[in-house]
Every structure is written in C-alpha cells, then in structure tokens.
C-alpha cells in the first residue's frame, strides 16, 4: 500500500528543511521555556508562560510592551548596538565577558554550551531587535550548574520569529473560541515589587555604574504555579551542593540588571528530582551575589 502511494508521489524535490535552523530554533525555544519554568514561581514570569501559550496557540503576534523606552531603531529596523560595533563583535565581546566572569567566580570551571555540549560559551543571536542569549553548563568538582543569559538593548526582551510569544510580550490574547481577551502585559521581574512569591528573597540596589540590579533567590515545586518551595542559600565555590529536599523542586538565583539603554538577565537553576534526573543539574554553583556581580559587568551589555 505504502509503495503504491510512494510511487504516486514520485521523487521528492530537494529538501528545504534546515536541520541546523531547526536545532537553533529548538534551542532558543527550550531556553526560554526553561527560563520561564525557573521563574514560574515568582510572579510575572508565570504570565510570560501563559501569554506565550496563548500566543503560540492563537497566532497572536506579541508586540513589545509600550511602557518601556526603546532605543532608536537602526535603519534596518534592529535596535542599535554600541557605536562602531558589529553584531559579531558584540557577540565576541559578550562571550569573552561571560567567560571571564564565570571563570573568575568559579576558578577551574569548565564551560560548555548546554544545548550542544560544545566546549566554551556559545550565544544565540536573535534578530530585530538584537537579543543575545546563552545556556551555559558549568562543570566543577562540586558538580554541574547551568546558567541562562540574555542581553538586549533598550527595554523588553525581544524574540525572533522562531520564539515569538516566548519573551515578554503585550497584546490582546485570543481565546480558543476566537474571542479576544483583555490586553495582557508581562515583563521580567525588574523590581522586588513585581514579586508575587512571598517566599522568595529579593534584593534591589544600584550598582557602581548606576545600573539598577534586582537579585531574586527562590525555589518552587516544578509545575506548581505560584511557588511555595522557599528559598535556599545557594552555594559558593567549593560549597556543598544544595539539596532542596523536595522532589521536583527548582531552586534558582536570578539577576536582572537595568542600564539606561540595555538590559542583562542571568539565572542559575538547580533541579533535584528524586528517582530520576531533572532538566536542571542538581547544584547551584553561584550565589545570587556572585551572579549579580557577573551580570553587572558593563561588558555584558549590548548597547552603550
């Protein structure tokens, strides 16, 4: 039967399916989904996930939140980078700064790209506006950790065509029945006031460069919206791995740095599941303070 149909179809034309592109899109979507999972217990990031689901299933095209200043666009429509710097140069600079920051905080650490396992730090560059994101696995004698990184110019984390709806968005949601719901706006947590998880620890301060820094430490049971796991102190270099003691519990530190014209987000997550490996390594290798120190580095910003 199948042979008869195959004969009817005839020879297939050359495939236009780009497997590398598929992997890149999958990597980026996975990274955003995992970041959203990390933040699901602490407030507005949960909205991000919900809006993303609505957007993806309804065809909703999210638009950048209008409440935040966006830098003037370049002639090609993308957000501007630093003067005289090409996107490739910006990527190299970010990779170097990330590598330096992580290796300084964790001497002897081995860095690799989470999605591919390739040695070193690899960043995915989203276009229009430009967003640099990475998923970096840290391997130390104490175990493995995983860091998520995003850097973008101006306001909201943006998304490329492959991930539209998974970054912060605003717009009207369309329900399954076709009706249009109220406008939904969400954003990454930029202030401790944004937190809905009362168990989370949050610190907010102004960095040496005038940048606003928000550091969140929290834990929540995976799949539980609203989060109730409580915080953990994390672990510094050489510290014992953190055992949150609950099946499927995610613990994380999150640092969000707001510059005049740029944003940097870093998160390190740990997931311990008893009986089966979870999606995150079981060790929080950096404290929130260490994470913030790295994220505050002006060399991690995309725009001046």
């Amino acid at each position: 039967m199948r042979n008869i149909i195959d004969e009817a179809i005839g020879a297939s034309p050359v495939s236009t399916v780009d497997v590398d592109g598929v992997v890149a899109a999958g990597r980026r979507r996975t990274g955003h989904r995992r970041l959203a999972t990390v933040g699901a217990g602490i407030g507005t990031l949960a909205v991000v996930g919900i809006v993303a689901a609505l957007a993806l299933t309804s065809g909703l095209t999210p638009t950048p939140a209008p409440t935040q200043a966006q830098p003037a666009a370049s002639p090609d429509g993308s957000a501007p980078l630093r003067d005289g710097e090409t996107p490739e140069q910006a990527e190299q600079r970010l990779v170097a700064a990330l590598t330096e920051g992580l290796t300084a905080a964790l001497p002897g650490v081995q860095l690799s790209d989470g999605p591919t396992g390739q040695p070193g730090v690899a960043l995915f560059v989203g276009a229009n506006p430009t967003v640099y994101s990475g998923d970096i696995v840290l391997t130390t004698a104490a175990g493995e950790g995983e860091v998520f990184f995003e850097s973008w110019p101006g306001g909201q984390p943006a998304s490329d065509s492959a991930t539209r709806g998974e970054a912060s968005v605003s717009g009207s949601s369309t329900a399954a029945d076709g009706s249009t719901g109220a406008p939904v706006e969400s954003s990454w947590i930029e202030s401790c006031a944004d937190l809905s998880d009362t168990n989370a620890e949050c610190e907010e301060f102004v960095g040496p460069g005038g940048q606003k820094v928000v550091v969140v430490t929290a834990g929540h049971s995976e799949g539980a919206q609203g989060g109730a796991g409580g915080s953990d102190p994390g672990a510094g270099p050489g510290a014992e791995p953190v055992d949150t003691g609950q099946s499927g519990e995610i613990s994380f530190h999150y640092a969000y740095v707001t510059w005049t014209n740029a944003r940097v987000l870093m998160a390190i997550a740990s997931d311990l599941k008893r009986g089966e490996p979870g999606p995150y390594p079981g060790v929080l290798l950096l404290t929130g303070e260490q994470l913030a120190d790295i994220a505050m580095d002006p060399d991690l910003t995309v725009a001046s």
């Binding site: 039967m1 495939s15 999958g26 990597r27 396992g117």
Partner: protein, 162 residues
C-alpha cells in the same frame, strides 16, 4: 539537550526526514508547505525530545506532531480552503493504473478523514494510535476510515485494503 541527545535527535531526523516530508506532502500536496510542516514538527520534537524518546513508539509520536501541525496550519487565515457552492463529486473512480489520481482523491477528503487514512495506511499506525493522535475514539477512526475508503471506492478501495 545535551550533546549525546542532540546527536541522537539529528540521527533520528536524518533517518526520518524523507518519510516525514512525504507524509506531509500527502496532507497538503505542496512541497514547500510540506517542508514548512516538517520544520515545525522537528522544532517541537526537539523541545520534547527527552519525552519523545520515552514514547512507546517514537514514529507514532512524531507523526502525531506532524498531523497536528498540518491541522493547525489549515486554520491559519491564509491557508483556509475556499468555499465553493457545491462539493465536488467524490465518487468519481480514478483511472485504473493512474497512481497520481490517488493523491488527487486524497486531497478531496475532509482533513480529519484524510489524516485517518494517511496515519492508518501510509504511516502504518494502529487504530488505537490514530485515535490517540487525533484525539478521537477508535470507533470514529474506524468510521472515518471507512468513509474515506468509500470515497475512494473502486480500484482505490482495493489498493487500500490490500
């Protein structure tokens, strides 16, 4: 996804690509759309690769994603099928020996009926698997398939029952 998992993903994609493209073509009868559907399917598969590998039958899992990608794609405004005053006569037997007529007749079937037929007879999935993928009962799969076969009656029916 770790390096070993991604290598396994790429290996699977390499092996399954041609079959997926041809199945997608059966759904939409357009190679560009078929490749778009396969790309969409593979991105979703990548996201759920860890879980997909634990599926009792990976191929069925992937064909499920593909079938839904096509059904979803059809709902997009620019893909909607045109409304015509009268439905074409589905009972026209295709010329014996003309294999391409099978494709034309498949295209005349309503989407879910077409999906039933493709999943059952081209992807070799069971009634249970087809029902699970499409989210319908096994009885509905049987009746939809029977109606599809009825529409393709004549020489086509003989082909599908072989």
């Amino acid at each position: 996804m770790r390096a070993a998992e991604e290598a396994a993903f790429r290996e699977y994609v390499s092996a399954a690509m041609e079959r997926l493209r041809r199945t997608a073509f059966l759904y939409c009868r357009d190679w560009h759309t078929a490749d778009d559907l396969v790309s969409t399917t593979l991105v979703k598969l990548y996201q759920h690769w860890h879980r997909a590998q634990q599926a009792s039958r990976l191929d069925a899992y992937v064909h499920g994603i593909l079938a839904h990608a096509w059904l979803d794609e059809r709902r997009r405004p620019w893909r909607r099928e045109r409304v015509v005053p009268e439905l074409p006569d589905l009972a026209q037997p295709f010329p014996a020996g003309d294999g391409t007529a099978i494709l034309a007749m498949l295209a005349e079937l309503p989407p879910r009926r077409r999906a039933c037929l493709v999943l059952r007879y081209y992807c070799d999935l069971s009634v249970d698997q087809t029902a699970e993928i499409l989210g319908i009962s096994t009885g509905t799969v049987k009746s939809q398939t029977a109606r599809a076969l009825e529409a393709l009656r004549g020489p086509a029916t003989q082909l599908f029952q072989e």
